[in-house]
């Protein structure tokens, strides 16, 4: 596979001690190419979200390697991990995790401000992204005034504002109704077409169907990999 942006080698995550020890992620190996959309599916509690946290440096693996953009994520200091998340990764969460006191545009510009962009540049990028996700008329609304689908689109815009190498999405439609899910689906489809690398943990077969590759997990282990579509050149 050419242009690998993300790779894991025997990555493992255990919780607890002694008899209560649980292996949430069990020796997983896989690679993600640039521009590829990978869907991770499996039953609840199989370790999908934990795997995503390991890839994004939100949790440290118990063993194995995680390599992003040629750098060992598992060996990085907290400061280096923060820089990596800031410059290379965008997160989308099931629960949106928008700051309730910030408007849509203020939420989107947060990562850009943390990355040291000027307020003007951050605001410009945030407005442009909100326009791209179809929320140009909702920029000044607080999250409480937005629908679930609109909130998740704001969260996706926020994940994209620093132009990350890879977007990690954890059950992005898990809290949405059917219509809102369709909105988000269309958005991911556009991102995939634009060459954005995406790793999406999901239960939703419709989301998985938009991916190039499907990873299936059970009891913390990767049990199957299915190629659904080649990555567009």
């Amino acid at each position: 596979m050419s242009d690998v942006v993300l790779r894991t080698r025997r990555v493992r995550k255990e919780f607890g001690k002694g008899a209560g020890r649980v292996r949430a992620v069990d020796d997983i190996d896989f690679e993600v190419a640039a521009g590829e959309t990978v869907a991770v599916m499996g039953p609840s509690g199989c370790g999908k979200s934990t795997l995503l946290h390991l890839l994004g440096g939100l949790q440290r693996p118990t063993g194995g390697e995680v390599v992003l953009d040629g750098r060992r994520v598992d060996e990085m200091s907290e400061r280096a991990l923060a820089r990596l998340r800031r410059d290379r990764i965008g997160f989308v969460f099931q629960a949106f995790h928008l700051m309730p006191e910030l408007t849509a545009v203020e939420n989107v510009e947060v990562p850009a401000l943390l990355a040291g962009r000027s307020p003007r540049a951050a605001r410009g990028a945030a407005l442009e992204l909100l326009d791209r996700v179809g929320l140009a008329d909702r920029t000044g609304h607080l999250p409480s005034a937005l629908s679930g689908g609109q909130r998740q689109r704001v969260a996706i815009a926020r994940a994209l504002v620093t132009e990350p190498l890879v977007v990690l999405a954890d059950e992005p439609t898990g809290n949405l109704d059917s219509a809102a899910t369709s909105e988000v689906l269309r958005l991911f489809d556009r991102l995939r077409a634009a060459g954005q690398t995406l790793i999406i943990v999901t239960h939703d077969a419709r989301i998985a169907a938009t991916a190039n590759r499907l990873l299936s997990m059970r009891d913390g282990a990767l049990v199957d990999q299915t190629l659904l579509a080649e990555v567009a050149a």
């Binding site: 995790h97 700051m99 309730p100 951050a122």
Partner: protein, 606 residues
């Protein structure tokens, strides 16, 4: 009845579930109640020693003073007019009193030198505590003054340029003992007694020796006449009726009348400054206690929101919800009042010893019914002020909201959000945290402002009390220093505790926001900086407000013209307060910033 039992049971169970918070709440309030108790217990503690001294020395009921600008004695007719006033039953001899300087072993002090007959007098018989009474070339020093000077019988002193030896020390109830804050007799006539208007020592010598003391701090001489009244309790009315008042009789030379009650009150000056400091300190500590308790109560109600929802879901009324919270804190307030009264009574003993210029001891500080009532009421008010708002907020919360969304929605402050966008990341995060909870920021401002107000007041008081003592040991200053040191320690401890409470509350409340900031690339040190900035910025505002407030409080309490402490001292208080807040916030903020991001976000999504 069952309803009240339920309230008591819920309150008791909740207190048992959170013993550390309950203990902290009691300690915070007890600091204020202890200080208040000491302040109240000092009232009148020197009355008994003065009365003992007055009885032992046949002290006068009133003292008449005649001012003589050129030193000549008053006319006999003027003196007779006083001795024949209705109510005067006896009187002593006319005594010249001059103001001069006493020097001994490199120390100098302004003194009032009183000419007394070696034979003594029926009214006012100073009680010798060592040595012998006045004689040619031999002076007697008032015992409080001798102690402050470090003088002993047999020492040589220079009085107005002439050498004398100290023949004895004595106590008297006819003039205030050293140190006293009485504006001495000459002040009545608007004449400055010397470089130091307060804390003037008293020296007895023979009138013949007094005549040889040439170097005076003022040429004016006061002639004193001790009076015995038929009704000693009526002395204040007697003095007010027959005495000359500077405001009422400008330019008059007398008689200026001092009642024995005024002299007693002047002797109480030893404790009065300390008492005033304690009462101001108690108010400041009460404000700090309110701030600290408000944070604790707010955090507690935040944690209990789901419980409140549950209670309401099973039929609890808003009144019941508010009552449970109020009962808890009022019970803690009663405990704090009891602790404050007990500790205060013990500590008050350290501040009650009278000047060496009085006989006897004051006995243990007593707690009057009024003191108990005032302290208990103050503790209840502090608890009520701190708990009422969170209690009402909990009571008014909608049941479903309380059950489903335990965290209070943060406030939005658009201008602060816009302003913070152009600042470095720690300040950006810090200002946004302040904007989310402006009430908490206001408490941080209040807490620091109150502390700095107290410190500046103490600094100003030190700057003033350090003056004009001529290097003499001063009991009033020493006692004031003891009290202000105690208050300073309490203020600092309470302020530090408040800062830690506030930081923990902010850390807990900002857990989700901090985790999100880290997920989007903020480093742990930037988040730590943000959490610390949320405390330090309001603290800096509070410190700046506290500087002028301290000077104003000193001015209001002492009713004197403003004396500026050194700029270096003020700067040290300002910088020290801010640094102290930085230190107090460092650990909680650091811990808060290092919570595992994934755990927080997963927990909050659940």
């Amino acid at each position: 009845m069952g309803r009240y039992l339920l309230v008591l049971r819920l309150a008791w169970r909740d207190l048992r579930r959170r013993p550390v918070e309950a203990i902290l709440a009691v300690l915070v309030m007890a600091a204020a109640t202890t200080t208040l108790t000491i302040g109240l217990a000092l009232h009148g503690v020197t009355d008994h020693p003065y009365e003992q001294t007055r009885a032992a020395t046949a002290g006068p009921d009133a003292v008449a003073g005649f001012l003589s600008e050129d030193g000549t004695p008053p006319k006999t007719a003027d003196v007779d007019a006083v001795t024949h006033l209705p109510g005067v039953s006896a009187h002593g001899a006319l005594m010249p009193l001059a103001h001069t300087t006493l020097a001994m072993g490199g120390r100098t002090a302004t003194v009032q030198a009183l000419g007394r007959s070696p034979a003594g007098d029926p009214v006012d018989q100073p009680r010798l505590t060592s040595g012998a009474w006045v004689g040619a070339g031999s002076v007697v020093l008032e015992r409080g003054f001798a102690d402050a000077l470090g003088a002993r019988v047999g020492d040589q002193v220079t009085l107005g340029g002439r050498s004398f030896h100290i023949g004895g020390t004595a106590v008297s109830a006819a003039l205030p003992a050293y140190p006293s804050s009485l504006c001495h007799l000459l002040c009545f006539a608007g004449v400055a007694p010397g470089p130091n208007a307060f804390d003037i020592g008293l020296v007895w010598l023979t009138p013949a020796d007094l005549a040889t003391v040439q170097e005076r701090t003022t040429p004016a001489v006061v002639y004193l006449l001790d009076l015995r009244l038929a009704d000693p309790s009526a002395a204040p009315a007697f003095a007010a009726t027959h005495g000359t008042l500077p405001g009422r009789d400008p330019g008059a030379s007398g008689p200026f009348l001092l009642s024995w009650q005024q002299i007693r009150d002047a002797d109480a000056g030893v404790t009065r400054s300390a008492q005033a400091a304690l009462q101001v300190g108690a108010v400041l500590l009460a404000l700090l206690a309110i701030a600290g308790l408000t944070v604790l109560a707010g955090r507690r109600t935040l944690e209990q929101t789901r419980r409140v929802g549950l209670l309401k879901a099973v039929g609890g009324t808003p009144g019941l919800i508010a009552l449970v919270l109020l009962v808890e804190h009022l019970a803690l307030a009663v405990l704090a009042a009891a602790a404050g009264l007990g500790v205060g009574r013990v500590l008050a003993g350290r501040f009650t010893a009278p000047s060496a210029g009085l006989l006897g001891s004051p006995g243990p500080a007593s707690l009057t019914g009024t003191t108990v009532a005032v302290v208990v009421t103050a503790a209840l008010l502090v608890a009520l002020a701190a708990t009422l708002l969170p209690a009402l907020r909990a009571a008014r919360s909608a049941t479903i909201t309380a059950l489903e969304a335990p965290a209070r929605t943060p406030r939005r402050h658009g201008r602060l959000i816009a302003l913070s966008a152009s600042l470095p990341v720690p300040l950006l995060l810090g200002l946004r945290l302040i904007g989310r909870r402006p009430g908490r920021a206001a408490l941080a401002v209040l807490s620091t402002a109150v502390t700095v107000t107290g410190l500046v007041t103490i600094l100003t008081s030190d700057a003033v009390s350090g003056r004009g003592t001529g290097g003499l040991h001063n009991l009033r200053t020493e006692r004031l220093t003891q009290v202000t040191t105690m208050i300073t320690v309490m203020l600092l401890v309470l302020a530090a505790a408040n800062t830690v409470f506030l930081t923990w509350a902010t850390v807990a409340d900002a857990r989700h926001a901090s985790a999100l900031a880290r997920a989007f690339g903020a480093t742990p040190s930037q988040v730590t900086g943000g959490l610390a900035a949320a405390q330090v910025v309001p603290a800096a505002v509070g410190a700046l407000l506290g500087l002028p407030a301290g000077l104003i409080v000193y001015r209001l309490v002492t009713q004197t013209s403003l004396t500026m402490p050194s700029l270096a001292g003020l700067a040290a208080v300002l910088v020290g307060a801010i640094l102290a807040v930085v230190v107090c916030t460092a650990i909680p903020a650091g811990v808060g910033a290092r919570r595992p991001v994934a755990d927080v976000l997963s927990a909050d999504a659940a």
